[in-house]
Every structure is written in structure tokens, then in C-alpha cells.
Amino acid sequence: MQSQLPIYPEQASNFAPNVDSLMLFITAICLFFAVAVTVAIVIFFFKFHRKAPNDVGVPIHGDSRLEAAWMIIPLILAMAMFSWGAVVYVDYRNAPRDTLDVYVIGKQWMWKAQQPNGLKEINELHVPVNRNVRLILASEDVIHDFFVPAFRVKMDVVPGHYNTMWFRPTKPGRYHFFCSQYCGTNHALMGGWVTVMEPSDYAAWLSGSSGGSTNPLVAGEKLFAEKACITCHVPDGSGRSPSLNGLYGAKVLLADGSTVTADESYIRESILQPNAKIVAGYPPLMPTFQGQLTEEQILALTAYIKSLQSLPVPAKGSGIAAPTGNK
């Protein structure tokens, strides 16, 4: 701020160079039109200034070729902006497979993050450089938004939904993150720092400061027993409800004949509103857990259920659609 005024923030993620190029591209086009129109107006303003009080202008009513030109040319340029923007956006909305998953919970007015090994942070987020990081975002109250200007990405954090966002940090350092969806009194204080570290430093940090935190897998396994999930969701498929082995990421066949991919949102919804999507062949027995679990408990359960992905799927008693099924 002292000596020079920057016009764009630091570039610290895979998206930053793309977004900045897009910005330059659109700025260049817009500047061209803005300058062209302004120059025309200024020239006309002086050149055709009224000479005598009774003068009238030359009656020109229009020109349909000109009209066509200034509809078609801007349309083509607009489509170019649309297409480039769409490419960046589709990339952003589809995370690669090999991500490091970090859970982030927003609540009035703080952020809680939980690393894969269970390490918890408040208003801080540590991530390794050059690794694809995916944030799974949940809110305990109102809508928030996780925004890292140096990464050029943001995503709303919506109560009742899981949203995800991803990025690949490209430069070690400390970067601001903000809440950018207005969320009440201390909205402006709901921010913190992302620390991007060398992988070795990150590993050392993870192991060095993990004392006292509970691994979400362990917590989830414990909850799975405590809340009596295990009595119906028996792993070998012999229970009253489908086995959850191999569930995460698979397609589930539903009672109405459709299929759904078992992602975090599906697992969350099935815990909170079990009757929203009934697995084919199973009666709607499960009670709702809406209001009975905290967001952190839901995340722990989800993490545990995800960890069952690698276990063998029983031949009978799972809700997973046969690979050759419909759709």
C-alpha cells in the first residue's frame, strides 16, 4: 500500500493465471468499445456543435447494415468470453480424483477446518504446495462463503448442503481468506489465513501438532456404533438395511428406478433425511437424524462411511447398482 498500488492480488493457485488472463482478455475488448464510443462522442460533441441557434441536424434515420454489424460483432465477442469463462468454470467445478480432502465448517463468525488425520484448526488452513486440495464445505447456521483472493476461487457454504471447491496451491506463503457472503454482525471478522507449505513441512506440521485431536475415522466409527447404525447396516449385507461397504463413489439403485452417485451430499442427506432417496428393495425404516448430530459428527460419520469404500461389497444386501444396470 505504501509505494505502489497493485491491481491484482498475488497469483498462488493453478486457477490464478487463467482467471487473470481471462480478466485481461475481457478488459481489452471492453476497453476497445469504451474508448471507441467515448472518442466518437467527444469528436461529435465538438465537431457538430451547433453553429447558429436555429440550425437543425441532417436527418439520418438509420442503417440496417450498421445495426446488423453492431449486433453480430458484439455477439461473437460475447460468445468468446462466454466460452473461455465456461472452460475455467467447468474445470473449477469438477475436482480431479487425487485430491487431499479437508473439511471446512463455517459458523457465525469463525471457520473450523479439519485435516484428513483429524487435526483441527480455527481460522487457519494449512495445505501442501502443488497438491490438489478439495474443501468440503458445511455451515452450521447461515450461508457463508469461503474466498481466497490469491487463489481466485470462492464457494458458498450453505446450510443443509455440502458444497465442494478445489485448487492447487502453486506458491508457498500465507494468504488471506475471507467470508464473502454476508452472514450477520461480524461477517467482516470471519476470515483467516491459508498457509501453503512445502510437502515436507506440511507433513512435519501434521504430525507435530496432532496431539489431542481425534481422527475423524475413529470418531466416526465410534458414532456408527453409538447411534446404532451398525445394527441395521450390517457389513455382510445380512441386516435390515443395505451394507455400506464399497458404497462411496458407487451408483445406488433407488426404489423409483433411478440411480444416484453416493457422494458426500448423498451420504449426508441419507443420514438427515433418510426418506428422501429410498434404496431399491429396502423398506423406509430409518429414523431421521436431523437435529441430533452436529455438523462435525456428520462429517465424522461421512468420513467413516467413505473409508468403507475399500471393503468388499457383499453379493447380496448392498444398495449398489449392478454395473450393467439401467442408465
Binding site: V19, I41, D55
Partner: protein, 546 residues
Amino acid sequence: MPHEDYLNATYGIRSWLLTTDHKRIALLYLGSVTVFFFIGGIFATMIRIHLLTPTGALVTPETYNKLFTMHGVAMIFFFLIPSIPAVLGNFLIPLMIGAKDLAFPKINLLSWYIYIVGGCFVLYSFGTGGLDTGWTFYTPLSSVYSNSAVTPAVIGIFINGFSSILTGLNFIVTIHTMRAPGMTWFRLPLFVWAHYATSLVMILGTPVVAITLLLAGLERMFHLGFFNPALGGDPILFQHLFWFYSHPAVYIMILPAMGVISEIIPTFARKPIFGYSFIAGSSIAIAVIGFLVWAHHMFVTGESTYAALTFSFLSYLVAIPSAVKVFNWTSTLYKGSISWDTPMLYAFGFIGLFLIGGLTGLFLACLGLDIHIHDTYFVVAHFHYIMVGGAVMGYVGGIHFWWPKITGRLYSETLSRIAAVTLFVGFNLTFFPQFILGYLGMPRRYHTYPPEFQVLNVLSTAGASILALGYLLPMLYLTWSMRYGKVAGQNPWPATGLEWKTDSPPPTENFHVTPEVTWEPYDFLNRPDLGLAAGSPLPAPAHGDD
């Protein structure tokens, strides 16, 4: 007084509060929207003073949140939406089409009373604790978590919606059924076309926001689960419903201003407008496509990628008719006889600022860029360029253009030119730095910010003080002119519209004899009655003090 006009026909407070004359109702609106503009303006001033320092110079976080919320509610629902339609539209549409009044004069008065009742509810909310939800009322913050006076504000905006709906209905029926002989659709002034398009948006969109706010109010008062996930609702549903109205509402604000500019430019360039049918058609196109772009406010809510692609595409389409207008206005200047009278300065200012506002919309419609600039100061700058740079410049320009008709008096041309330039400079200094702030990553609605953003915030506040001066000046000289200004005569500029073929101020029944239209719009050549060079050798009428 030499003749009887709508101002001196009757006297007394009852003759105003029970009037059904569209011109008097327009003045009732002029007074009341000005009050709300002042209230909103005071909030804006406090916001800008507060943001002088990174830690906030003036108020607590809670008060700051209330200031920007109440600024938005007062300015959008009670100033911008009614400003041009209910003041200038009300006054001018019957005059422009050669009618005695609007189709439903009593409903017109009812609209104003509904506006006042809605306004009282909102002022009650402001006075009893204020409102801190943001003007967007996003759930579940507004419906569950906020501790401020949300309920009276929501009721006030709900009631006020009916005022818009009735005004829109009145305009549509009037334009369809009450045109003077010879006033065909393609002889209508473009101001009337713009108001026709605006009225369509008003009657189709307003019911949706009324119902949406009602649902949020019911959730708040009776815990019915529409939007609160804890009760099985969906907060994103609120955003879809809210923006289904509130995006088209932007066109309610800007289309009438475009109508004003389309009148000013041919008048002060003294030539027919370039591409009449394209400008008229683009108003309708904006109104129609404008209904199909609402979810571009929601690209980062987690909405489906396909929805985002569709809404981005449609948002780029709506840019085309706006571009068409700008190109046509610019072309109209070519080989004109351009005067530098105040309304024309506002028209130039409007084009410049609307151009920046519209072009920066292309940045926000771009999916890949929106993930960075959404909900930052870039958005704040963008919509102020449209709403203040566009709509308010159009409104103030229109007031200057038709002031001689409304009051029968001319104002000081020198002072009004100074004010126009002051507004333009002050506006740019206030809002241009905010584009940069936004790209640097400063989120909107922040009562405190990291110190690296201070320089740009100080620039913005400095600009706002110039801007405030630019608004105060016209209030003073326009008020002064009502008593001391030179008498304007029927057609001081001169202009071609029917409203200029009656007295200034017009008689209560508008025209002593129903006019018959035999000329094309904005035709200066075949109008000897205007007294211009190409028509007749008569000298031009008295003309300001320049």
C-alpha cells in the same frame, strides 16, 4: 397568472391529497421519492465516512450492517424503482400520447397511497432497531438468525409492490387505449416504449418478490419451513425466487432512464433518432430476456454446472440490446446540431457511465471470472455504475429536460452545467476505485478491512463528498427557479414531442383541443411550428441564460 394551469387550478392541501390529476400525483411522488433519496443518501454518507480507516471510523459493526442494508432498501425499493416511472412517467405519458390523464386516475392516486403506507412500515423498521439482513434478505439469516426489525420491513416492501403493479397496469392500459388520433405505435416517443417495457416487468415480476418476502416473513413469524434447512426448507430456493424479480428489477430502474436519454439526444442534436425501431425493440428484448438471467447471481452457490452455463449464456445475450442502444445514441450525434445544454450533458454522462456499468457486467457474466469477483467490491462498483451512473443520471437529466414543462420556469444554465460536471467527476472518483478493490479481493459488506485496501477506500470517500455536493446543488437552484426562474414558454428547447405543444405548466386537462399527430417522431425538418431554420424563418424561442 396569465392562464389557469394544473398547479393553480385549485388550492389547499385537500386539492393535492385527493387529486386524480396525473401531473399532481407525479409531484406527490417527486416529493416522496426525494425524501427517501435523502434518507438513503445519509446512510451512504455514513458508510463512506466509516470506511475511511481499516478498523472503521464511525460506528459499531452492527450499526454498519444496518446502514448498508437500509441504504439499499431505501434506494432500491423506495427511490430507484418508482423514481422515473412514477414521477416522469406519470407526468409525461398522457401528455406524450395526447391524452387527458391515465386510464385509471383513481388507481393512480391509490398507487401513491400504497407507496406511502409501505414506506411508513419501512421507516418504522428503520426507527425501531433498524434492519441488518442486507437488502437481499438472504435466508436463513433474515428468516431465522437476524435480531433486527425484519418483519415490518418485509411487510412494507410487500405492500409497496402493489404500488408498482398498479402503476404498470395503468401505463399499459393507457398506452394501448388512449393515444391521440394519428399517434401510431411507431410514432410513440421512445420514452413511452421504454415505459411500456418497464410496465411489463413490473406486473410480471413484482408479484413474485412479494410472495417470496411473504414466505420469508411467515418463516420468521410462524416457523414454517420454506427456506430454513432445519425445518426441511432450502435456502437456495429463496435466492431463485428473489432474483427472479430482483434481476428484472434492475431493468425497471434502467429502462426508463434509457427512455429519457432517447428523448434528450434527438432534441439536443436536432435530428431524428438513429434506428428508432431498433431502440424501441431493444427495450422489449431487454424486458423479455431480462427475465431469463436471474441465476447469474448464484454461480457460486453450488448450483448445477449446466444451470450456470445456461444462465451465463443468456446473460451475454441480454448485453446485445443494451449495446444496440448505445451505438444508436452515438450515431444520432453524427451530423447533428448539438447544443451543450444541461440535459445533453447528463445524456453524455449517462452514456459514459452506463457504458462502463454495462461492460463490467460482461466480467460478472463470465463464469470463470465470477468465481473470483462475485460478492466483492467489483460487484458494488458495477451495479452503482448502472443504478447511479445510469438510472440516477437519467432521472436527474430528465428532471432538467422537463423542468420547464413541469414548473413553467427555466433554471440557471451555468449552475446546472457545473452540477452536471460535478456529479460526473464525483461519481467516477467514488466508484471506479471499487472495481480495483474488488479485483484485489475486498469482499462487500465489510465494516473493517485489511490495511492494504485503505488508499482506494479513501479515494472513494473523497469522491463521495464531491458527489454529495453534485446532488445538493440542483436541489437549491431548481427550488430557486420555481419562484425566480425565467418563464419558459411552451417549448423552450425546442423539442418535437406532444408534451411541448401545450402550455407550460399544462392545463389540468393537458390540451385545450385534442391534438392530432401528422408527423413522424423527432422530425425537425417538417415542423414549421418549432421555428427552426429548416422550417420557417421565425426566430428561436427564449432559451435559458446562455
